[in-house]
Symmetry: C2
Subunit: 329 residues, 2 copies
Amino acid sequence: MEHGGGGLLSNELITGLILPLFRNSYLDRLEDGAVFEIGTKRLCFTTDSYVVHPLFFPGGDIGSLAVHGTVNDLAMCGGKPLFLSAGLIIEEGFPLADLERILRSLAEAAAGSGVQIVTGDTKVVNRGAADGLFINTSGIGLIEYPGLISVASVEAGDAVILNGAVGDHGAAILSCREELSLTSGIISDSAPLNDLVTIVLNTSPRIHCMRDATRGGLGAILAEIAARSCLDILIEERDIPIHEDVRGLCEILGLDPLFLANEGKMALFCPWEDAERVLAAMKVHPRGREASLIGRVQGGGRGRLILNTLIGGRREVDLPTGELVPRIC
Amino acid sequence: MEHGGGGLLSNELITGLILPLFRNSYLDRLEDGAVFEIGTKRLCFTTDSYVVHPLFFPGGDIGSLAVHGTVNDLAMCGGKPLFLSAGLIIEEGFPLADLERILRSLAEAAAGSGVQIVTGDTKVVNRGAADGLFINTSGIGLIEYPGLISVASVEAGDAVILNGAVGDHGAAILSCREELSLTSGIISDSAPLNDLVTIVLNTSPRIHCMRDATRGGLGAILAEIAARSCLDILIEERDIPIHEDVRGLCEILGLDPLFLANEGKMALFCPWEDAERVLAAMKVHPRGREASLIGRVQGGGRGRLILNTLIGGRREVDLPTGELVPRIC
């Protein structure tokens, strides 16, 4: 299970087995999507399979999630999402009413994100060969931003900005699982970030890197960016917004909200001088209202993520070995 | 099950439920992929999820199939396949050695088709939530052919050309299923058709339509093209190549090879005057050696597929309600 969880074992599977087989300059970048040129235009291309359990959760369902997740991956490349594909794997006997509800939600999420579903595929497998429904969406985006948005662009001195509270999606999924079924009232943050990204890109010509904090949460993406850039990232726990109910659930269950999944949260890196301006622009947008400057990239580091804790301590944050919550997206 | 089989119920699901929700000019064309312009370039985009059972079969495995299937969908749009994504859904406990073998096969098939895997995703689901491994591939192709390759371009008088014997893939999968496990020696025809298509497109500037005969077989794609173009297609049974062992297996099992799946077979439509030239060019290529002129589009028809049988009869071929062989691709 832990090979698919976005943690250390997941990294091992990808860098140990998959990358050597498929070596090319696109994959080797290990970004959220591949970037290439067609004629005079720069495009990005990304794919994600969604296996979230349960299929319906507070704040969304597998249909809306499959749109938001892929739209956000394109946005993180600096791409305006243009076209999405949808590939459905349906278990025999899956209720048609549920399928219709999910497809309707998928269509609405696409319309709400300004992207068109232009091609699709439907496979039905026998009972027991899949868990209800899986959806793959792949997407194509158009990049008009002149800068190179990439882990390779992250520099010492960069500010780290987060667009809002972390852990909502993971906590929402967890609390509606059969084995728990808490009535927490926590709602997934599943949402498209492309509008917010457009604002950000229009505000600064020097956005260095953006990454949505999905599987593995904020902790995993920052630890990975630190490791791959060989720069230390120092973040302040007190500046990371966490909703009270999420914090409460994490305390009960002994989970670290830093590693809980999000589906509408991103971290971005830009020069310190631009941070105020970017932050101010984000706060005007509904999905950036709780945006916060949470840290800074250090010079002379060794690729570590370092957390200044609430109680005044300082600790290195490691990528978790496995995953906190399986089938979160 | 039959909703996913490429037959009549599958059509109902797509036209009844899916299309009305996602209405747009790309999807409404119901071709193998979506075609759009980016700057001055014309691209095509397609997706397919592969759920073939068993994962390994004579002539290929789910990895090579996932490349060939999507490469062929791009080729059928007249596109040179450029980039592929790969999304894996892996069941917990799936043997790593099998995964490696499949990924190696996927990488080799990509190299053999001249396409690059540029982005990917891996999800692991708990034991029992998937049947071993499912793979989604989506692809982007570049269309340089000036003509419009589409069902909408099919005309009365067009020749129908097939590139080789039908039913191999379906028969190969069937004969290696646990419940049968015949030692038939039949090998899947799974192969990339993009090279052959390049030859075809260089031979005639008037290729009207191409379609690979996958799920539902040659019968299903021709019946669908007839219905959508509102033209009758008349085909000659004696001109449709079928390998002896496939014919034998079909006789034993009471199956019609016309509806058995293929993964390296295509039908193409071009003006009768160009047919000889196109056929001659195809026969030079290994995947077109058994190419055959199998029929003709009739004027004044009503969207029927009509078969002149071996024994001198003539019958209308209907789209099968369900599927002959589930999880064939």
